[in-house]
């Protein structure tokens, strides 16, 4: 049976699934390694691998096939669970006005610029708000990995970048709940927005508060059990339950998974759980990034096709908005302790990642974001992760 069978929408056979997974792993890791070798984040290679495996190039995987789609969804859920596990609620609360100001400015400015670009291009206000929102969320994974790769993880600039990125992650999830509601209902009233914000913040706060009470009991019970693998699947079930609860209150499932990770990060089994979640993330996350890449139709980027020039124009303008917005946000860091390289802080916030892609994916699914605009957003995400590391290196030199 050939791997091509994996590209059919229905009735993916088991051997077809094995072929699709093998194609994803080989391509994602080969291109991920290539990306790291030239000083770029591996996630960039995984996205490009997806583009190559997708319907518009090799047609080896179909991100709309049910099993692949469900496994990709599990991938982003486990990714945000893992990011939660790596975060520290205490640090999150201790982040001073510096990180908070950078985070807020880093959301408001790209949002306003992205909205302005789309409004100027004649998009509806729903679409303009949606696209503005996709430019807000910094990818903490990409940011942290780039800083670690540079050996700059202990610098004052790095601490502010990471603190702001964590704040950004929480706020980004609220924005995600907002725009998801907007996409589903077409408009968002002031009251609905307030309600949604309160519900999202309230759910998150409630999940974290109740979770902090429940999590130590959960890991204690799980640790006292003799049966194999019980700690891992207990923590996963906890994440799944919070994800379902988030969904039930109209929030995104990933908000619940992130909250579960954050809460479990405060327990004494954190290291053990992280260690066991890692191979699961290694298994599922590439399926998500490859699916994201595979949803890109490369034909939108043919510069010789006059119809496609608009996509390139949109991508170019949004890239400028994405870069300028985060770069300017760096100057909102008010520190007296050390002379801060504020330019570097802003540049460190530039990489976008999974959350922005989730936004764009929801927009595409609900019809708020057109196919060419989606393609433009994916390219903007790809280019922000591509552009940030060399710029960061320059600015921190």
């Amino acid at each position: 049976m050939s791997a091509a069978a994996a590209a059919s929408t229905d009735g993916l056979s088991f051997v077809g699934l094995l072929a699709a997974l093998t194609a994803i792993y080989v391509a994602a890791k080969a291109l991920g390694e290539g990306a790291e070798r030239i000083g770029q984040p591996a996630v960039l290679g995984e996205l490009i691998a997806g583009v190559l495996l997708g319907g518009s190039v090799l047609a080896l995987i179909n991100p709309e096939e049910h099993v692949i789609h469900m496994m990709a969804e599990l991938g982003v859920l486990i990714l945000l669970f893992e990011i939660g596990l790596e975060s520290d609620l205490g640090e999150l609360l201790r982040v001073g006005p510096q990180a908070l100001m950078v985070a807020l400015a880093g959301m408001v400015l790209p949002f306003a610029l992205g909205w302005g670009v789309m409004a100027a291009l004649g998009a509806t206000s729903v679409t303009a708000i949606f696209i503005g929102a996709t430019l807000t969320a910094t990818s903490i994974g990409i940011t942290a990995r780039v800083l670690a790769d540079m050996g700059k993880i202990g610098s004052a600039e790095a601490k502010i970048i990471i603190g702001a990125a964590v704040v950004d992650d929480i706020l980004g999830l609220v924005v995600l709940a907002l725009v998801q509601g907007l996409a589903e209902e077409g408009s968002v009233s002031g009251m609905a927005a307030l309600r949604m914000t309160l519900l999202a913040v309230g759910f998150f706060a409630g999940a974290v508060l109740l979770g902090r009470l429940a999590a130590p009991w959960l890991v204690k019970i799980a640790s006292g059990m003799k049966v194999r693998g019980v700690l891992l699947v207990s923590c996963l079930s906890f994440a799944f339950v919070l994800a379902m609860a988030a969904h039930a209150v109209g929030s995104a499932t990933i908000v619940g998974a992130f909250a579960a990770g954050l809460v479990l990060a405060g327990t004494d089994r954190k290291v053990k759980v992280e260690e066991q979640v890692r191979p699961l993330a290694d298994f599922f996350v590439p399926i998500f990034f490859a699916s994201v890449g595979a949803a890109v139709d490369v034909r939108f980027f043919n510069p010789f096709d006059p119809q496609r020039r608009r996509t390139l124009l949109v991508a170019g303008l949004l890239l400028v908005a994405a870069l300028l917005g985060k770069w300017a946000a760096g100057f909102f860091a008010r520190g007296k302790n050390t002379p801060l390289r504020r330019s570097a802080i802003g540049i460190g916030m530039i990489p976008r990642g999974e959350v922005g892609l989730v936004f764009a994916g929801i927009g595409l699914t609900t019809g708020v974001v057109a196919g060419d605009t989606y393609a433009a957003i994916v390219v903007v995400v790809i280019l922000t992760t591509f552009v940030a590391p060399p710029l960061l290196r320059l600015s921190l030199r």
Copy 2:
């Protein structure tokens, strides 16, 4: 959204998948723990959890739903990959005539008895051969865990049991290929049987020989790469490729996965790979056992329903065949070194497990095994794992 949504055959939503997985993990681990607490193997609890979650009791999971089915298939594939990783090719080759004789007698006797029972009951010869074959394979996982739980893993009897179980696992896969071919083609000619045996043995030998050359290169290249998770997904891709190759030559995918594990067990990264495969197995394997249990229709076991009495009769007779066949095989151990408790060796071979269930599942899918006979087989597997530990304890005292 309620967990009940997971029970529909089509269009399982993502939240429905999370609900099904949570139900599987909570039930499997609670009952698995309960089983261990009363001195039984955890797999027994996971099977019973599946029976309770299945359509004939709570209807919380549907093993025929595509995503659940594919994840269950990944579960048994990863389980056999892991069993391969835990096996030692050298030990496999060093097992002396003792283990080989026990293994051969432990296949021939239960096969003959199972065939005899079914033939006496008037089954077709295809069905009788199929059911005989399901009684042949000892579960190495269950056997080893029971011995370890008893602190008897170093005894002479234990070494013979484990050696024989390993031989049994390889031969069982050949028998699996044979009966799978038989089920698909309705009969098996002498030439076809020979061809199938040679192909299965040849594939296995070829995969192991070529794999032993390729595996060190694979882990060397993977270990030299900087990108995250590359060792795990390289080894998985290797297992997937061998599984697809096994399928291509008409063998079962699990034969390829087992061969991949066996080959990787000989590399210097064995411990690392095992460590990373373990959480994946913890995630996927309960889905397999729960699905196996969920496929049982408990209504077949209503003793007040005259139509069901046949199922109970079949199960009872097959259980006697399963117990007697393996017990008698223990007496084929010829050792001069120590006075062997041959009764204990045979009893140690009694637990059946995943391979027998895979046989029965294939029989059900292809129509060779009727629903009530399938239910009888699952109960025989459950009862062999239930009966063996107390008998083993008695015989080794």
